[in-house]
Symmetry: D2
Subunit: 315 residues, 4 copies
């Protein structure tokens, strides 16, 4: 079987790529997301796919989208960032492109991509932990994507790690993503600047003392330069990550936990503390086979590549 | 296909049953577990199966055992209560009984039993939470038992629910089973008796003021009689249960969560507070399809029935 | 000795009263706080005192003000709600009124008032816990107001009760006042309304489904009518209160803990759960003499009466 | 005024010293504690005092003892380690020695010693935190020992720092002394050895792999040699210490927090992380005057010296 198209619809960008059976991107396109008018998104995707179809022999289309996707993998029931409600994407795209279409949650698509061609290519059981502003994830077990009964499995960022903890955007308290994410990293840095602690001087200078200008990449960069505070802030997020992973490994028993997302660009500054915390807090660590914590390898393309491959399996 | 035998090897008892395709127990046997000499267990099981085989047309044997079972489902790698290490149960039993044998973790077997013939018979995705002295569990997803990469998935009792919390037998701190189990129920009752609080009078009288004689069933009985303290103690365990289930549902997205084990005999005294806590702490509760929390229906036979059925699927 | 004036400067109102040696208010006045221009406050107070002085034989003036007061009790160093910085209130008022003036933190003044004429009149050691939007307090030990080395003792609302807990306005996480205050009560009610739980129907109807209109008094009123949810919400705040009081009693060993502030108007709906939680969580409860948890008795006048009496002790 | 005797009755040793007005020990004696027969303790102390009285002009005796001491400071109501119940020590010793006697809780006596002649000699408000197996303490405010209404104030080791946390010997959960003490230090080291983590090799070798032989001094020694794990374990205890001190400073507002006890011998290995955690978690740190965290200076003699001085103030 030949080429398929993978589409990753994010809040601000849409990534579209022609992907071969080995997960290699043969051609790609990138569009702004016309987020205000939902219908325009399908329209834009349809046109882009049509363009690619002229130049490549495409057999199917896979779409990854943030939100809850129905069990038949054809309709987005609810999306947090786009005004979609029961948006019948597959029907519409099939009509417009004359190709079979499958829709999947974007984090699931990324997990599938890493499983097939990335950090989990050598195993059957993978947990992908995507650490960006929040924490997302996807689960592959026994070579199958674990979608859950309703397609909303792997909302791992909302594992409660602190009872009565920090309030989360989801309405709950103490969710993992309030402690082990980019948002937590930035918040902790801002706290230190506001508290006027002396060790924050270098970081504070980078933003002219304005805590609101702190970003995750800036902290990572500063840590790479050797700033002990920045290193410590990233390590603290890593510690929370590793502790949460220990709970998830007790439940899911994967062979590999791949850590992706923007914050994972900090590399071992994040992953070494995560691994240490993982081993320290894994139940019965001595008596159970070990899961490896690895950095995800496909970067931002994981969702697109995974969606393309899901279209292939499905077609 | 006809009859299979299910064997559930516990720390003190071995339950053996002939089970038909509908999960009905046609005949059964119960033995003491000769725990001190591991070889004797296989011996006893082999003889019992041989006896049943004379009277029934048996096609396969399924064994559920506490412990880590290898990926091929033939060998117990490690067991907490029996001195087994790499015990090749399947090989030995096949040689002795001349029947195909499959081995499975006992909690997994119970989950499979509930999925096939019990609380999850109407769905494809089930989480079984077994609340006894500790908390165990099993996961069925998309109609498949989720064994994990190493057969040790679903160690849900060791989800960490309180950072730096109560020390657990597994070596970690704050594990779920320190809060939502029979052990927690008894410990809380003992604390109240030792603190000499007046509302504990009725419960204390039942054990002549000796906290060490408190048991879970005794508290449940007392709660059924309307003792507000006993009701409150069970509700508190239910609250922790429901909060942990909320985290697990965010990760696994099952259709049904079945609650079994000895403590579940408290029924709605336990499950109503669990359900309330579940809904109160489920992330994005309004935007996600709902999982039902039900009581498991097969009781102590779940493991035996499940093991028998796994042998059938396997044969 | 005769009459003194007590002044309680709040963020929106100034209460001024002529108080006799028994703590009885002989005459009183209430002004708006001209908060935008700090100088105007002293001006307004001076004029009001002058007016009272014409009709009463006044010997001294005591001023209670929110904020940090210097060790000499003459200057407000910093105030959270008024733009004061090193405001020399005593000097200015003495010059304008020709009376000796003493300044005290308002919560300390209220604790002193309750100690001299209210809930602690029969003991030597009192802890006042003021439960309003946040939690404030004052400590009297061995008959002396415990101001601390810098006049900022008794910031009990910022005792950390949950590590990595809810973010507090003070910049920290997990402060007691995020759990045991009016703010917590309202937040919990809003959470329930937003989660659309059915038991919230009555409460929600009172505010036409608009969570932002929920107030503490409204919840209390609803609880008095017997609404189980409202009763439960207040009990939950009471539980956190009692648990925090247990920690404070271990540190301070008072005879009486008086609970005042707006939320205390819920009476035993709040205090019974607080007492139960207190006894359940008090360390070594059986081996230590017991502190009584009582409702404060002077209401909003505690600060004014306390300030007047402090002026008397000082003069 | 001249010399007084200070007596510090511990679980295994009794320290007795003749102390002058400057807190200097002029002569001293050390006895085994005859703990099994309570009467023998008073007997031994009386004989030792009589001996010292022959050689020194002694004016009074101060006794520090672990336990709850009555308000008149003459009787030990209850002691955790000695079988005393309403033991009238002052009466008995006065009869036997013909000297005025005052009894005080040993931690209070130590706080008084540090306040008069040690780490708090330059301030009026001191909090002593004694970090040994558990955590004890004493509070001096405005130059007065704060005994509480019942003489049981400053049980700071039982401040709850983790809700539903580690079970404490006092019957409660999550007490500070389960995290910031020598017991916590040893427990964490044992956990690491049992978990077989590789970085524990050096520490493990010191005790031939036997976790039960780990002690606090051994960890400190190993940390001084530069072992990163030992340094980390002490820092972790220091972090919990500093976070608890932040809560206590919010309540008590001392000028100085002195840290004593056996674990404080780790010096800045403990205190630097404690100070960092203190500043990071102190509420409104920028707007409040600062408390200094210092090491206590009188070591094991603090209780004896303090008791001697309390006898002087009292005589």
């Amino acid at each position: 079987m030949g080429l398929t198209v993978g589409v990753d619809i994010g809040g601000t960008k849409i990534a579209i790529g022609v992907v071969d059976v080995d997960g290699t991107i043969v051609a790609q396109d990138r569009l702004e997301t016309p987020a205000t008018e939902p219908g325009l998104i399908t329209d834009a995707v349809a046109r882009a796919v049509a363009g690619l179809k002229e130049r490549h022999e495409i057999e199917a289309v896979g779409v990854g989208a943030a939100g809850f996707v129905d069990a038949a993998r054809r309709t987005v029931l609810f999306a947090p960032n786009i005004e979609w409600e029961d948006e019948r994407i597959a029907d519409e795209l099939e009509r417009r492109t004359d190709l079979p279409v499958v829709v999947e949650n974007d984090a699931n698509a990324a997990a599938w991509g890493e499983f097939r061609f990335g950090a989990g290519a050598d195993v059957d059981d993978l947990l992908l932990v995507t650490v960006g502003t929040g924490i997302g994830g996807g689960i592959v077990q026994a070579g199958q994507l674990n979608r859950g009964a309703n397609g909303v499995a792997a909302e791992i960022g909302h594992l409660r790690v602190v009872p009565a903890g920090i309030k989360c955007g989801c309405g709950q308290y103490g969710c993992w993503e309030q402690y082990g994410s980019g948002r937590a990293l930035v918040r902790q840095a801002q706290d230190r600047i506001q508290a006027g602690m002396k060790e924050v001087a270098a970081l504070s200078a980078l933003v002219d003392g304005d805590p609101s200008r702190i970003t995750g990449p800036l902290i990572t960069e500063e840590a790479r330069r050797g700033d002990p505070l920045a290193i410590d802030l990233i390590a603290d997020v890593g510690r929370w990550l590793g502790e949460g992973i220990a709970s998830l490994v007790a439940v899911l028993d994967p062979s590999v936990v791949a850590v992706g997302g923007g914050v994972a660009k900090a590399g071992d500054l994040l992953l070494d503390p995560a691994r240490a915390a993982f081993w320290r807090t894994l139940p019965a660590a001595l008596n159970r086979p070990q899961a490896a914590i690895r950095r995800a390898t496909l970067g931002n393309d994981a969702g697109m590549i995974g969606a393309a491959d899901l279209a292939r399996s499905h077609a």
